[in-house]
């Protein structure tokens, strides 16, 4: 099976507004690719070019080996689940699931079996005779997924599928989706979301979108540990982003010399230092920074400290403290050199 998705410099514009700017991205067969970004970043537009509801102004879209750019949606062989589920209200659950098979003139005798199989897979077999309005949001979601899977698509498009569910249901459905993907290892999934937890949990790779452009793409670990842009660093997980000057063996922050990998950045140039708050420790150590406590927040298992270091605010998530340091008191923070990343200044504005 070869059924990935390939965007080849796909641009979409409405009038003078570019909503997707020359997206080039490949989703490998059987891969889960999350398109992660804030609203208006172009991620949903990208998904809709694959579905065929949006025509690119330029560029080509391929599904497998087929160039589908000029094909109408009904010839593309995709499964799609949208935020509001779009279950047909006038049809029963089993009729909804059978819809795609009937529309494609699938042999009539096989349809009940395929419907039962899809409903079984999503745990909705007991609800086959119900109408969508009689189901809860989570159940409707499962039916929508069953309907998309019944046609055995090579490509599954999920557009914010969990955002209409409450937090508890969402984590349950997330585990379900992961299980479904294990059961259907050949299906490529394009998963659009603005929720980093969903992307980090489910995706093999994440494409980070902002302002109509692809900002970054990599495995969740890569993006989390070694983000390439300030946008990625702040959108995927939490980050301290501190302006520094590059030196020969590291960087200088507000007069303090720090030791960290420079990845060939020219000494003397300015850059942004990225270090995750939970990797910043309290007390003396390598790369020690001294400052005054500006704010302390208790978060159950951890304390979040906001420390002013030479005019810059540094966040540190430390294990719950027995005694919280008083505001204004002087503390020392530290982080390991390998936990820090230098981001070239201005990458984000490119």
């Amino acid at each position: 099976m070869t059924s990935g998705i390939r965007f080849d410099a796909v641009s979409v514009a409405y009038g003078d507004t570019t909503v997707l700017d020359a997206l080039t991205l490949t989703v490998e067969p059987g891969e889960v690719m999350a398109l992660l970004g804030p609203s208006g970043s172009g991620k949903t537009t990208a998904l809709r070019t694959v579905a065929g509801f949006v025509r690119p102004r330029s560029g080509r879209v391929h599904i497998g080996d087929r160039d589908v750019t000029d094909l109408p949606p009904y010839k593309r062989g995709i499964g799609m689940v949208v935020q509001q589920y779009a279950l047909f209200p006038h049809l029963r659950v089993d009729e909804n699931v059978a819809f795609g098979l009937k529309a494609r003139k699938h042999p009539r005798a096989e349809i009940p079996g395929r419907v039962a199989e899809a409903l079984e897979m999503t745990g909705m077999a007991a609800y086959a005779r119900r109408h969508p309005r009689e189901l809860s949001g989570g159940q409707q979601q499962r039916v929508a997924i069953a309907r998309a899977l019944a046609i055995r698509p090579d490509v599954l498009l999920l557009d914010e599928p969990l955002s209409a569910l409450d937090a508890q249901l969402r984590s349950g459905m997330l585990a379900e989706l992961a299980r479904l993907h294990r059961e259907l290892p050949d299906v490529s999934i394009l998963y659009v979301t603005h929720d980093q937890v969903e992307a980090l949990t489910l995706a093999d790779r994440i494409a980070v979108m902002d302002r109509a452009r692809l900002q970054d793409c990599g495995t969740p670990q890569e993006l989390y540990r070694r983000p390439r842009t300030e946008f990625t660093a702040s959108f995927v997980g939490n980050a301290n982003l501190l302006p520094v000057r590059v030196t020969a063996g590291g960087a200088e922050l507000a007069g303090t010399a720090l030791e960290l990998p420079t990845d060939g950045a020219a000494p003397g140039s300015s850059a942004t230092l990225c270090v995750r708050p939970h990797l910043v420790g309290l007390g003396a150590g390598p790369n020690a920074l001294t400052g005054r406590i500006a704010e302390v927040q208790w978060r159950g298992a951890t304390h979040r400290l906001y420390v002013d270091v030479g005019g810059h605010r540094v966040k540190a998530d430390v294990r719950e403290l027995r005694e919280t340091p008083p505001l204004g008191s002087e503390v020392t923070l530290h982080f390991a050199p390998e936990d820090a990343v230098l981001l070239a200044a201005g990458v984000n504005d490119g």
Partner: protein, 265 residues
């Protein structure tokens, strides 16, 4: 709540009653009362009788009622088909084509019914199509008059229809034709029912164009109400009017029943 004081509210309600009751409620009640009376002396009708009704469901009157029902049913069906087709075709178009089509189909709303009657009379009293003197010319004129209403309410419903259903169906591999039959039309069914009810009611009460066109053997009920009152039989006219109103309401009620069934199916 706009008025908070008790007296203020009472005054508003009194004003409402003074305006609403004589203007809207009394006329209908008066017709109802008159239809059961033989004459009107002083303030109130007198000589209670059901005679007008026994006459109203016989002979000429019964024929006029069936004429109206058949005309309204035929005109509604034709208008609904034509209006829905046009609304669906317009929805598939963009920009100027869509606006042109919409404008064409609302035009009959602005043209006086009498003029529609005159136009149809002029056009179909000559070759190539001779319809003058037949029932078809009445049905045709009614169709023209109610098509605009059907088109308007169906296009409003199409605009309200969430495109996500159509897209979900297309994504599942359904061709446009299949989407129309299996998704769009079923979802539009309640609105189509409402449009049919509206067309039916309008056609049942149509008088203007009908007066220009009706042949002697195809006289709808409103014309009969007019001829009755015109020759001074106001009480018979009232009974016929009540029959007309009751029939219209019954049909509207039946249509709304079907609609609720369809919505909750």
């Amino acid at each position: 709540m706009l008025v908070h004081s008790r007296t203020g509210r009472a005054a508003s309600w009194a004003l409402f009653a003074v305006l609403f009751v004589p203007l809207f409620a009394v006329p209908l009640l008066v017709i109802l009362a008159a239809s059961f009376s033989t004459h009107w002396s002083g303030a109130f009708p007198s000589g209670p009788t059901a005679g007008h009704y026994t006459a109203a469901v016989r002979g000429e009157s019964l024929q006029a009622l069936t004429t109206s029902l058949v005309t309204a049913a035929a005109a509604s069906a034709l208008a609904l088909t034509l209006g829905t087709w046009a609304a669906l075709a317009a929805a598939a178009l963009r920009g100027r084509g869509r606006r042109l089509l919409d404008a064409l189909f609302v035009l009959p709303l602005a043209v006086p019914s009498v003029v529609v009657g005159l136009a149809v009379l002029v056009a179909f009293s000559r070759p190539p199509i001779l319809l003058n003197g037949t029932r078809w010319i009445v049905i045709l004129a009614h169709t023209v008059l109610v098509t605009a209403f059907a088109h308007q309410s169906v296009s409003a419903a199409i605009r309200r229809l969430d495109p996500m259903y159509e897209q979900a169906a297309a994504g599942l591999g359904a061709r446009p034709w299949y989407v129309l039959l299996r998704v769009k039309l079923p979802l539009l069914l309640p609105s189509l029912g409402a449009a049919a009810g509206l067309c039916f009611a309008l056609s049942m009460g149509e008088l203007s164009a009908t007066m220009m066109l009706y042949p002697p053997d195809w006289m709808p009920l409103p014309v009969l109400v007019f001829t009755a009152t015109d020759r001074g039989s106001l009480f018979t006219g009232s009974a016929l009017a009540v029959v007309l109103m009751a029939t219209t309401l019954l049909v509207l009620l039946a249509v709304s029943r079907i609609r609720t069934k369809a919505t909750y199916r």
